[in-house]
Structure formats: C-alpha cells, structure tokens
C-alpha cells in the first residue's frame, strides 16, 4: 500500500533534485516516442543529445543557442518570482531586434566604437518599451497580462515582416525579405575564428550576476519574493505593487530585447524575417527548469539549447522532424511540474517507519 502524506514544509533537497528527475523522465519518454516512430531509441537519443555537441563547433553552437535562452529566462525570472505572467518575451525580443536593427541601419555606412553600445542600448530600450505595454495595461487598466503579452508577440512579428519586406528592405537585395548588412562597428564581435559564438554571451553572464545580486542582496529582491509567495502579505507590508509590476516587466523586456540584439548583430548582421526560433517561449521552460535561480538558469539554458541542436541533427541524419525539439521542451516542463508534487507530498510505503 502506498500512502501520500503532505509535507509540513517543502523539501529543499528535492527542490533542486526535481529538475534532474524531470530531465531523466523526459529522456525516457523521448526514447519511447522514438521507439513508437520506428527508430532505435538509444541511437536516436544519441543523435539528439550527444552528437550535436561532440566537437568544438557543436559546443559553440550550444553556447550560441543557450545565450538568448539564458538572457530571456533571467529576465522572466523577475516576472515569475513576483507572480507576473509575462509570456510575451518572444515579442519583446522581436521588438528589441527591430529597434536595435533600425538604429544599426542608420549607421550602415559608418564605423566607430560608439555604434555598438548605441545599438545594444536601443535593443534593451525596444524590449522595455514593448514590455511596458502589458505592464501598464495590467497596473492601470486591470488587463490580463498573459493575453496582452501574447497577442503582442503576433503583432511584433508582423511589424518585423512589414519592415523587412517593405521600407527597410535592402535596396540592392533583389527583393529578399531582409535589410542591408550592418556595418562592422554595429556587430557583436565573434569570439573565436571559424565559430559563431559571439560577445553576446557576456551580456548573458552579466545578467546572471546582476540578477543574483538583486534577488539575494537587495530589498527589491526581498519584496519580489514576498509578493511571489503572497500578494496579500506584500500589500499588508506596504510594498508599492504597481511600481514593482512595471519594474519587473521592464527588466524582463530589457533582457529579451538584448537577446534580440544578439540574434541580429551576432553572426547574421542584418534584420530578416525569422529573428528568433521561438526563444522567447522556450525561455519560459528554461526559467522554470532553472528554478528561477540565476545559476540554475545557466544549466537549464544549456540543457534546453541541446533540444534545438538535437532537433536539427536528428532531422539531417535520421529524418526525424525538427519539431521533436518542441515535443521534448513541452515534456520537460510537464515532468518538471509533475515532479514538483514530491516537494509538497511524501510518498510512504506501508510498513516503513514514520
């Protein structure tokens, strides 16, 4: 007989163990899906999770994909910690890319050390502006931030599409849906010859450090934590709820915007239709898998980044559709949420000691 007992307090050990459990369960379930599809499960998993990062190039690609995921997830953790459901990071990324891309295009025929900082700043501001829409609507008009931030994703992608097809398209570009190439001074430098990993990774690492400091060393971090646990308590303690909502949205928008800057000023160096393969949505999973903890998010972003690479490799070598990546991402979140059950409940077997 199995008996389920509620824990008096959530277990801290299990808090950090469940992400690992979730990954193991996802691998099992993934193997099962591959088996059903008629592949050898172990071989498929190997192609999915090991082959893509077996060489230096693969490892650089892993970091390249993990960078935006980590950055966005750090930003989202501010929102999620304080009970604000910003699920439109994809839109904030896109809009950040649009603004920074627009600024970079202004300087397309100029060089200068001052260009890159302006371009980066423009991206962060773009993301913040876009994130401020759901934030302001939530605080002053009581509007559901989930739906607003999500609707804005579609809008931002259409704005981008309009710009790269129409007014911003490259005059010498034979009507391809893309802008001019940015000047070298507007590009994030590539770190190693022949690889694609670029300086954007330092932005992500800086975000990790800063967010850690804010979460655990400042009054603001404490306020966010309290509001996350109980909005009533936060109100009772006299915290300025509205100000905080707007602030966390701005932080998360800035991070997403910076991720957008990395995507366009890194290896690609121009605006085009598909700025992001849904990094903004995947980062939600990364934030949860990393337990909204900056260090946890680093690990989580690396793990989830593999699903992007694995999906590509598996598609090339085994003709497994690339959407398998999304299936894995969904499963990780399912299993993570499910294994959280163990945080609050103990499973006891009859006969075991109390």
């Amino acid at each position: 007989m199995i008996k389920i007992v509620k824990r008096d307090q959530p277990s801290r050990t299990i808090f950090f163990l469940t992400p690992v459990l979730a990954i193991i369960l996802t691998l099992f379930a993934g193997g099962l899906i591959f088996y059903i599809l008629g592949f050898k499960p172990f071989e498929a998993l190997k192609f999915f999770f090991i082959v893509p990062i077996a060489d230096m190039y693969g490892f650089s690609e892993l970091l390249l994909k993990a960078t935006p995921l980590c950055l966005i997830a750090i930003g989202l953790s501010f929102c999620f910690k304080s009970n604000n459901w910003n699920i439109g990071a994809e839109g904030q990324l896109t809009f950040g890319a649009i603004v920074s891309g627009g600024v970079a295009l202004l300087f397309y025929n100029q060089e200068g050390f001052y260009i890159l900082p302006i371009v980066i700043l423009a991206g962060a501001i773009g993301g913040m502006l876009y994130a401020s829409i759901p934030a302001i609507l939530k605080t002053y008009f009581n509007t559901n931030e989930i739906l607003v931030s999500l609707m804005l994703v579609y809008v931002s992608k259409l704005i981008l599409d309009y710009l790269v097809v129409g007014p911003w398209s490259n005059p010498e570009g034979f009507n391809f849906p893309e802008t001019r190439q940015f000047s070298e001074s507007a590009r994030l430098p590539i770190l190693f010859e022949g690889l694609r990993i670029h300086a954007g990774i330092f932005l992500a690492l800086a975000a990790v450090v800063v967010s850690w400091f804010i979460f655990y060393k400042t009054y603001l971090g404490f306020q966010m934590k309290v509001s996350g646990f109980s909005l009533k308590t936060a109100k009772y303690a006299g915290y300025k709820g509205k100000k905080m909502i707007i602030l966390v949205f701005l932080i998360s928008g800035a991070c997403a915007g910076l991720a957008g800057v990395g995507e366009i000023t890194g290896p690609i160096g121009q605006l085009h239709r598909e700025v992001s393969p849904d990094y903004g949505f995947t980062a939600i999973i990364v934030a949860f898998l990393g337990r909204l903890h900056p260090v946890g998010i680093i690990f989580a972003s690396l793990i989830v980044a593999i699903t992007y690479l694995g999906a590509e490799t598996a598609q090339i070598f085994m003709q497994i559709p690339k959407y398998t990546g999304q299936v894995f991402q969904g499963m990780i979140l399912f299993f993570l949420l499910a294994s959280d059950y163990l945080l609050f409940f103990k499973i006891k077997f009859k006969g075991s000691k109390k």
Partner: protein, 310 residues
C-alpha cells in the same frame, strides 16, 4: 452605389464560418473556467484536434470517425493537463503553456506525412434550400453540421449552466470549491470532467479548421486562434451568449482583411493581419477597466488549485 444584397449575405456567411472555431473553443474553455480551472492549452488542444481529424480522415476515409477522433484526441491531451493540475496540483498557467508547446510539436511531428494532401469535401445540410430566399438562405442553409452545432452551442451552454443541476454544481465548484466540497460534491471529479469537455470542444474546433474551413493540413494552422478564444472568454465575462457576439466580431476582422485586399485598399497586409490581435488587446482593456464588474463575473477560484486532505 447599389449594394448587392446577395454579396452582403455572402460576407456574413463567411464571417460566421470563420467564427465557428472560436465559438467552439471558447464555449469549451468557458465551461472549464467556470469550474475554476484556467487551461491556457487551448491553442495546443486545437492544433492536436486539427491534425488528428485530418489524419484520421485521410487514413480511414470516414469523416465521422475523423470528427469523433479529433474530439477524443482533444480529450486525451487535456487528460494530461487534468492529471497534472488536479491530481498533482501543478500551476495552471505553466501547465497550460507546456500543453500548447507540446501540442504544437506533436502535431507537426504527426503532420509531417500529411502536408500537401488534399482534403475531402465535407457534406453540407439543406443544400437544396440555398436558392430559395435571397440574402437569407445562403446564411441559413448549406452548411456543415459542425457549423450548426457551433451556433447552437452558446445557447445550449447558457441553458446548461443556468438551468440544470450539473450546471449549478459546476458554477458552485468554480466559485467556492471549499463549500462545494463540504456539500459532498467531488470537486476533483467535476473539474476533471470540465477539463476533458473543454478538450473535446477544442479538438472539434481544430477539426473544423483542417477538415471544413480550409480542408488541408498546414503546420501551425490554428495561428493564434486558441489564444483569441481564450481572450473571448474574458471578453464575454464568462457569459456564453456574449461569446457568440465576440466571435462574430473577430470573425469579421478576419474576413475584412481579405475583402480590403481584394478591393485594393492600400494598407499593408501585415497591418490587416495584426488587426484581430490589436483589437483583442483593446477590447480586453475596455472590458477589464471596470475591475468590479470583472471581479463579480470571474469564477472566484479561477486558476487556483484545490487540495483536500483525506
């Protein structure tokens, strides 16, 4: 300028046709939310319904099996959500998002072999009556059974919630799970049933898209309709009849794009395509501004987990 009355009738018909998936999904989600559960997986469940319906139709050749199968697929995938949120007491928002991501992935995976296959013609009812009355009869006659069902559904749902005992139980569970539970109502069972019902309706909405509205399989073909359906539930202030009105407005916005392009209005295509999303935001703002009204009509326990010690 003479306005061709039959042309107006035609436009109204196409608006109604594009409102069908929104009505189905919203009415399903409305029941789920009335029981206190917020399922953000509408988009995922719809796309699963779309591919299941289309795949079953291609494989079995039977439209009946395909429609039922799409609903069962919606139920099946919503069972994951129900198990997680009700039995394992997970967060509704996060679980719903996972459901959407998972659903889009799985549907594209299954759908790989069905891209480019032409759909089948779906039988329509009362076709012989289509020519009888000008203006009115193209609106009333010659549609699929799903179409008629969708336009009856808000009224059925309204009656069900307000006049039947089960409807009352669902509302009680949504407004106060604790007192409902003390009355001997099995809260978990009610919520499970409402989630699965929502899944079935979203599955049907998806099947309508891939089998009747645009009979083919395209990746991601729901294109955000699931999210608009969710917004419609808020828009309606949880009242099924208002869903009908909202769905017609959004259906209208979708159809207007095509006609404006056809007439040659010089507005960028992208702006017209963005219109339904922008209008959704505006409408949400207008509706939600009155926080008292929203608070009165929102199911009190919406999105909150219920756990009973036993």
């Amino acid at each position: 300028m003479m306005i061709d009355i039959n042309f107006v009738g035609l436009i109204i018909t196409s608006i109604m046709a594009s409102a069908v998936p929104l009505i189905l999904a919203s009415c399903g989600e409305l029941i789920t939310e009335r029981s206190g559960v917020l399922n953000l997986g509408v988009e995922g469940m719809m796309i699963i319904g779309a591919i299941s319906g289309f795949a079953l139709m291609t494989v079995t050749g039977s439209l009946f099996i395909a429609v039922i199968g799409a609903m069962l697929a919606g139920i099946l995938i919503s069972t994951i959500f129900a198990f997680l949120t009700q039995t394992l007491i997970t967060n509704h928002v996060a679980t719903g998002l996972a459901l959407t991501i998972f659903g889009i992935g799985i549907s594209a995976m299954i759908g790989k072999n069905f891209v480019g296959i032409p759909g089948k013609e779906f039988p329509v009812l009362f076709e012989s009556l289509k020519e009888t009355i000008p203006f009115l009869s193209p609106i009333l006659f010659g549609h699929s059974i799903v179409f008629y069902f969708a336009f009856a559904l808000p009224f059925i749902t309204n009656y069900f919630l307000k006049k039947t005992k089960i409807g009352l139980i669902i509302r009680a569970v949504g407004d106060s799970p604790v007192s409902a539970s003390n009355q001997g109502i099995n809260v978990k069972l009610v919520r499970y049933s409402c989630i699965l019902y929502g899944g079935a309706m979203c599955g049907l909405a998806g099947a309508y898209l891939s089998m009747i509205y645009t009979p083919q399989w395209i990746e991601n073909m729901t294109g955000g309709r699931g999210w608009i359906a969710l917004a419609l539930v808020v828009f309606s202030t949880w009242n099924p009849i208002k869903i009908l009105i909202g769905a017609m407005i959004f259906g209208g916005l979708t159809i207007i794009q095509f006609h404006m392009q056809a007439v040659g209005v010089r507005i960028p295509v992208q702006f017209l395509t963005a219109l339904p999303y922008i209008v959704t935001i505006v409408v949400l703002v207008v509706i939600s501004r009155d926080s008292r009204k929203i608070r009165l009509s929102t199911p009190s326990s919406l999105g909150k987990s219920f756990y009973k010690d036993n």
